[in-house]
Symmetry: C2
Subunit: 193 residues, 2 copies
């Protein structure tokens, strides 16, 4: 019944996500979002309610794919130390353009902080899942002997999240791939033996 959509909703969210990622939340106008998605204003508002709601959709789309990728690396082959190294390396993009965009979560946290709405909740959820994933992997690393004895998994998880966040900021500073790699190596040396 009724007229069907002329577009794919997920594809539209993905395009909106890239617009927000490129310019930040405030600097992205609803007009920008229409152009990025190829939709008219009516379709955007009919489907996503508001700019902020579309941003929340974009953000959760970003975090879920990013967390899945990270989880896959942490569930991959090798010692825990090697898997953590793979995660740190994955923050180091090959392409300068990509590196310059940084991370949508870090960018949003820096621009908006933790707002008291669903956007803030999405950011908090991302933090929690990251910490949980890292904590678990560190626990495994202490057992498999690839990480040092006596490490507090929760503390190391905070350290690793801080490190990836720091790397993303360095990326926005225009830091070279080589320098970012060196930073990742030093960070890793703090917890491996």
């Amino acid at each position: 019944m009724a007229r069907p959509r002329e577009f794919d909703e997920t594809a539209a969210v993905e395009k909106a996500m890239h617009a927000f990622w490129e310019r930040g939340y405030e600097a992205t106008s609803t007009q920008d979002l229409c152009e990025a998605t190829g939709l008219g204003r009516s379709s955007v508002y009919n489907t996503f309610t508001s700019k902020r709601a579309l941003f929340r959709r974009s953000l959760t789309h970003y975090t879920s794919t990013q967390l899945d990728r990270r989880q896959a690396l942490l569930d991959g082959p090798g010692t825990a130390a090697e898997r953590i190294a793979a995660v740190l390396d994955s923050a180091v993009e090959d392409d300068l353009e990509e590196r310059r965009r940084g991370c949508l979560v870090v960018n949003t946290l820096a621009e908006l902080g933790l707002p008291e709405d669903e956007v803030g909740a999405a950011l908090q959820a991302d933090t929690d899942r990251n910490l949980a994933m890292f904590t678990e992997c560190v626990r495994e690393g202490v057992l498999d002997g690839s990480l040092r004895d006596g490490l507090d998994p929760a503390e190391v998880a905070e350290f690793l999240l801080s490190t990836t966040s720091g790397l993303r900021v360095m990326a926005r500073r225009g830091t070279s791939r080589e320098s970012m790699h060196a930073v990742a190596d030093i960070a890793l040396s703090a917890i491996t033996r």
Copy 2:
């Protein structure tokens, strides 16, 4: 000759800086800046030309005071390792409210990236000075024996800048003082012996 100013320019810049720090660049309107500084629109534009120019003034005011404070810590007493520890600790504010604001430089980098104007130049200059200060101190630390042998001072400087940036992002995430302290300790353990 002519009518004198009714306000202190530096004080106005400082108040504008806090407004930008609190809300970010885009979300801070010229109206907000008038209210924060207590000046009328005419005075603001007569004195600072444009919103962006006032932002640049605010940013350089922030970076210069922050760099001076950091330099003082790195020039202070104790071994290089102790002085670097003092810098990392200084990123951990006592007050939650202050911590939540994060760092104006990190926030701006995340929101705007490195724009091709004087704002970008100010951000780049801040990065350069930070790296230079850290590099010098690490060199001293290798000599005084408080840091490990064989460390590349330039690489460690990037690591330390990345770490402080990461800590500021964690602060925006709402991370506790204790967790941030633990992160700083782990980071330090990578370079001390």
